[in-house]
Structure formats: structure tokens, C-alpha cells
């Protein structure tokens, strides 16, 4: 009896539409595009800052437009999704064993949120938001 195993083709594109869990994964991964774009914007800001006050202020003024604000809100949304989706899986990467038991994952996740809030408040404070 001869063997003739059949190999099923796997779609290189569009596979993530097959399962909601793959879409969830891609929604996390796609955030890197928006976060990368924001990092480029920050680099532009630094470049304009190095060109002097007038250049930097015109750059800031350009960011005040409705489309800029909409774009920044979209980036913020994706950044929050990126942060929360990673925070929620941290217990997998860093389990904390105490004796024979493991610390429930919710405490590890909560610790990340707590540090995030404290750091965000510190940044806002330094930026003079309060």
C-alpha cells in the first residue's frame, strides 16, 4: 500500500479572518503601525525643536487642527489597546510562585495597571498638566 499524504494549502493572507481569536491577535499586532507612526511624529517634533522656537511652534500649531486631533485620538486608542492587551497576558510570562501556590494573575495584571497610572500621572505632572 503506497503512501500519498495530502498537504492542505495554508493561505498566507487572510488566515486571521478564520477565527475570532486570530482577529483579536491581529488587532493587538496592528497597533504597532500606529505606535510606530507616533514615534516618527515625536522624531519630527525633535527635529523641529532643534530648528528653533518658531519652527517648533508652527509644528505644534499644525497639530491643533481637527484632523490632527482625530489622528492623535486614534493613535491613543490603539496605544491603550496595545498596553491593555499586553498587561492582560503578563501573568503568563511572569508567574509568581509563593510556596506551593501561584499568585493569582489578577494581582500581576493590577500591578501593571497601577504602575501605568502612576507613571502617566508623573508624566502629566512634569508636562505641567496640573
Amino acid at each position: 500500500m503506497s503512501r500519498k499524504p495530502f498537504v492542505r494549502e495554508v493561505s498566507k493572507t487572510g488566515w486571521y479572518f478564520k477565527q475570532p481569536r486570530y482577529l483579536r491577535y491581529m488587532s493587538r499586532e496592528v497597533t504597532c503601525i500606529f505606535i510606530g507612526a507616533f514615534a516618527l511624529l515625536l522624531l519630527c517634533a525633535l527635529g523641529r525643536l532643534s530648528e528653533g522656537q518658531a519652527s517648533y511652534e508652527s509644528f505644534l500649531a499644525a497639530l491643533q487642527g481637527p484632523w490632527s486631533i482625530f489622528g492623535l485620538l486614534v493613535v491613543l486608542l490603539f496605544a491603550v489597546h496595545n498596553a491593555t492587551s499586553w498587561f492582560n497576558v503578563t501573568p503568563k510570562a511572569m508567574p509568581v510562585q509563593i510556596g506551593e501556590d501561584f499568585l493569582p494573575g489578577k494581582y500581576i495584571v493590577a500591578a501593571h495597571y497601577a504602575v501605568w497610572i502612576v507613571v502617566s500621572l508623573a508624566v502629566l505632572l512634569l508636562a505641567g498638566a496640573f
Partner: protein, 247 residues
């Protein structure tokens, strides 16, 4: 016994006559408490004795009867018919070549399993008169959940990375390597690291997490892979930043 007619669409493939697989429909009288495997057994016993599939224990222990049921990797002995409405689509495990009907070729997984040395490699060979290697309950708990793996390969069928990059060692093999690395009696981590910390090892994993979601034994392979990434990264920093490579 309450019975109902269950409609099954089963993927069939005969390597001697078929150029590609095709679905075959069966209407099977089934008891309410049956699982998909029972329905397949009923097909084989009363309707079509040519249907081929693997099974053994019928109690989610042997890991033989993994299949795609409505597109989801499941143990067919663990998939209750009452949880499905309409026609139930039964296919061989995804991401593996089809040998015949619902039977897949598992050679790739078996080969990868061997490469990670999933057995105890004692750090030192103690003479028998000195007694057994002792372990505290806390040391046992460190790796216990990863030792529950039954090699059913559902995690490979769920993993899109394995589908796209067949060289990837995959969830179960790495989780089992991690299980032995975490064992206080074991001293084989360096040997396994060469395999699991390579590019085709943990670094091919992008943490989709599907492996853990489909595991019928509540093992968390995704956790094992992320822990191996953390430990391997620490190794790298030790090697490059500490005098003497941190040895």
C-alpha cells in the same frame, strides 16, 4: 434512550483513489449524551466501515482522537453532540498532512518532540544506595501543569505560526522542554536551550495564545513559551554583560 439524527460532514481522503479530499455526508442516529467520537463509531459500525480515524481511550487521556470539529481543534471524545446544532463538520487536524480520512501524519511533531529531549537528564547520577531524587511539593508545582500535556497536537492545529512556518518547533514540544527545565531533578537545560532558544524555537512564536485556548488538559503552552523567552533573554544579557558570560 433519547436519540436524534445527527448530520455529519466528514472529510474523506483515500490516497489510492483520490487526488484531493472531499466531504461525505452521514445521517447518524445518536444518543443525547454521545460525543462526536461515538457518532463516528456508529458510522463505522453501521453505515460505512471504510471510514478511518484514530482513537483509543475515549476519556481525554490518550490524545489520539484530535480532529477539527466545525473548524475548531477538539478531542472528538470530548466534544458533546448536544453542544452542536445543525450539520457538524469533521476534518483531520489542521496543519498536518492527511494520511487517510481523519488520520494525519504526525511525524513532524514526533521528530520535534524527540529534539527537545522531553525526559529527565539528571544533573548528577547518584548511586542507587543513596536513594531517590527528592522533590518538595513546591518544586513539583513549579512544572506540574506542563506535565499534563497528552501530546494530542490540538495546539499545533490551532497555531497560525506553525501553519505559516512549519519549521517552528511549536507549542507542545517547547512546553514539554520547559517542563523538564523547571524540574529540580533535571540538569539538561543547556542541551535543550540549543533547540528551543533558536529562531525556529520560541522566537518563531508571536504569542497568538491559541494553543492555550484549545488545550483540552488546561495546560498553558503559551505561558511556557513566554517564560522560555524571558529566561533566554536573561541568558543573553548575562552572556554579553557579565564577566565570564555569567557562568
Amino acid at each position: 434512550m433519547n436519540t436524534r439524527i445527527v448530520e455529519l460532514d466528514v472529510l474523506r481522503y483515500d490516497p489510492e483513489t483520490d487526488s484531493e479530499p472531499h466531504f461525505q455526508h452521514y445521517s447518524v442516529p445518536c444518543a443525547e449524551e454521545w460525543v462526536v467520537l461515538d457518532a463516528l463509531n456508529a458510522v463505522k459500525e453501521s453505515i460505512d466501515p471504510t471510514l478511518n480515524y484514530r482513537w483509543s481511550c475515549h476519556m481525554a487521556v490518550c490524545g489520539s482522537c484530535g480532529m477539527m470539529i466545525n473548524g475548531e481543534p477538539k478531542l472528538s471524545c470530548h466534544a458533546f453532540l448536544r453542544d452542536y446544532a445543525g450539520v457538524i463538520r469533521v476534518e483531520p487536524l489542521a496543519n498536518f498532512p492527511i494520511e487517510r480520512d481523519l488520520i494525519t501524519v504526525a511525524d513532524d511533531f514526533i521528530d520535534k518532540l524527540k529534539r527537545v529531549k522531553p525526559y529527565l537528564i539528571p544533573a548528577r547520577n547518584e548511586p542507587v544506595p543513596e536513594g531517590e531524587y527528592k522533590q518538595t511539593p513546591a518544586q513539583l508545582m513549579k512544572y506540574r501543569q506542563f506535565s499534563m500535556c497528552i501530546n494530542c497536537m490540538l495546539c499545533y492545529a490551532a497555531c497560525p505560526e506553525y501553519a505559516l512556518q512549519p519549521m517552528f518547533l511549536g507549542p507542545a514540544a517547547i512546553a514539554l522542554a520547559h517542563r523538564y527545565n523547571l524540574d529540580s531533578r533535571d540538569g539538561g537545560r543547556d542541551e535543550r536551550q540549543e533547540v528551543i532558544a533558536s529562531h525556529a524555537g520560541v522566537w518563531d512564536c508571536s504569542f497568538v495564545g491559541a494553543c492555550s485556548e484549545v488545550c483540552p488538559k488546561a495546560v498553558d503552552p503559551a505561558a511556557a513559551l513566554q517564560q522560555v523567552k524571558v529566561a533566554s533573554t536573561i541568558d543573553w544579557f548575562k552572556e554579553h554583560l557579565l564577566p565570564g558570560g555569567g557562568k
